[in-house]
Amino acid sequence: MSALPSQALTPALSVRDLTTTFVTSAGRVTAVDNVGFDVFPGEVLGLVGESGSGKSVTLRSIMRLIHAPGVVGGSVLWQGRDLVTMPERELRRIRGAEIAMIFQEPMTALNPVLPVGLQIEENLKAHTPLDRAGRTKRALELMDLVGIPEARRRLSDYPHQFSGGMRQRAMIAISLASNPKLLLADEPTTALDVTIQDQILKLILELKRELGMSVVFVTHDLGVVAATCDRMAVMYAGRIVETGEVASVFAKPRHAYTRGLLGSVPRSGAERTMLLSIDGTPPSLAAIPPGCPFNPRCSFATEVCRTVVPPLDEVSPARLAACHHHDRVAAAGSPVA
């Protein structure tokens, strides 16, 4: 079950059967269910889905940042080595150095009691042979790179003295400190204003180009996907339900959920009309309906959807979808086209 595009390249990151479960008071829940995808060098993969669909857990599972009662299964191959089973010491050399991560909320992801400069240098100290002076110099470069003015003064400032956009830039600077090859960005712009989001998105793309990184970009904003990603994967209730080139998915969604998502977004020319909303709410992880998890909310659902879990299959070149009725969905057309 993989989302393999028909590309000859070897993937930089290859996720297979990634399954993460938690023990909660309601019992064992599967937050990420058999997820598999590849990320190719220099590519931006968008991961979209509603809140709680497992996007963040997926990223955290890749970085092995799942807390104790959580269990991660499957494999995450990074340049041939499996991060899931790697010893902690080795993993530490990859984290922050080869694979970096940006968190959703810069306010909570930056340590409030340490100066921003120190939080950048920490990374350099862990992964580069630079001495103190060298680290400061590199920190200044990074601050410049991400567009924080007056970098020298700002190094000794604390996160609360930064504005939201600046914090996010600082976080990007920390993540990029050791020139990672893969950037896992978990909704890096959700907390930001449009103009700042615009700046940050462009910054990431720019940096990606310059540094030749691959990026996994988690977002729930389809506009952002449209503006930044090469390929996308749509998640629902812990599973990937559809993947493909961004343009082709937008043009012809093959899963009812993808279609519904696209339709929920207001678009120009249709002001003050009813939106194409998806009824109901996403299922609780503790009570995922049998069959296709989306079936209770799906207007295409039939009997089979209520009993058989649809596999994620290649439905057209470089497109995978987990829907019994992907043909009917495709035929219904894209709400944004």
């Binding site: 709680g52 729930h220 299922p283």
Partner: protein, 286 residues
């Protein structure tokens, strides 16, 4: 974006399931305190002897079949005294804290809501009270009013309300900035209604959790005052007084002080467990 809460339908089965999901600390604490309460309410059903009856033939008798936990220097049965002390010690736990709790919560809610100079004045009062060693102040007040439990309650109340008020005021201050408080104001509700009907129920949790600890502390305070002769008066049995009674017999008749000590520890444990459990419960409910 925030995580959407799963839709829940409340059926009786779910309710029962939820009861089973109560924190284990809460259940353990509740069981301990329930048993304590039974002992407090019906001591005579369990205690083998009259707790004040002297037995000149069994002065300082070690634990035996006749006196399961031994007897004290008056020949009184330690077990009976420990059991009969439940009533008084639970009373201390409750009476010493309830006035402080009530006053503190009300004042705290008002202060937290009012803010401004009211809060500044209150801040100074808090400073003054916490600056003064608590025990010393209680001792001084008891010395003014005369020893005895009632006066101890007053003394603890006079000092103790501040801690509750502080907790509640801080929490109300947080809560009043939340949208539901504004919603109340937009609906045109009067401030008192907003404070006591809306804000307080949501701000009282830390005070309740602290209350549990405080009740355990009150028992200890009662015993410290008992040690100083300022607490429960004879012949009433009270654990602290019993421990003080047994102080001179630590080497020769350890049972006089050890068993009331065990009772204090267990009851204290009950309160803390209940407090921890409540904290956990109320936290997860949020």
């Amino acid at each position: 974006m925030t995580v959407a809460a799963p839709t829940a339908t409340t059926t009786p089965r779910r309710r029962r399931a939820r009861l089973l999901r109560l924190p284990s600390t809460l259940i353990a604490g509740a069981i301990i305190l329930l048993v304590s309460l039974l002992l407090a309410l019906f001591p005579q059903l369990i205690a083998p002897y009259d707790p004040t009856a002297f037995d000149y033939n069994a002065l300082l008798a070690p634990p035996s079949a006749a006196h399961l936990l031994g007897s004290d220097s008056f020949g009184r049965d330690v077990l009976s005294r420990v059991i009969h002390a439940y009533g008084l010690d639970l009373q201390i736990a409750v009476f010493a804290t309830v006035p402080a709790f009530t006053v503190g919560v009300i004042v705290g809610a008002l202060v937290g809501y009012a803010g401004g100079w009211v809060e500044a004045v209150f801040g100074r009062v808090v400073d003054a009270v916490i600056t003064f060693p608590f025990l010393v102040l209680v001792i001084a007040i008891v010395a003014v009013l005369g020893p005895g439990l009632t006066n101890m309650y007053i003394a603890v109340g006079v000092v103790g309300w501040v801690f509750y008020a502080r907790l509640v005021a801080a929490e109300v201050k947080v809560q009043k900035r939340l949208d539901y408080a504004d919603a109340g104001r937009v609906m045109g509700y009067r401030p008192l209604r907003i404070i006591f009907r809306h804000l307080l129920p949501n701000s009282i949790t830390p005070a309740i959790v602290y209350w549990m600890t405080d009740m355990a502390l009150a028992i200890l305070l009662g015993s410290s005052l008992g040690y100083l002769g300022l607490g429960a008066q004879p012949p009433a049995s009270e654990w602290g007084v019993q421990i003080a009674d047994g102080k001179n017999f630590m080497n020769t008749a350890w049972w006089i002080s050890v068993f009331p000590g065990v009772a204090i520890v267990i009851t204290g444990l009950g309160f803390s467990l209940l407090g921890d459990g409540l904290a956990e419960l109320l936290r997860t409910r949020k």
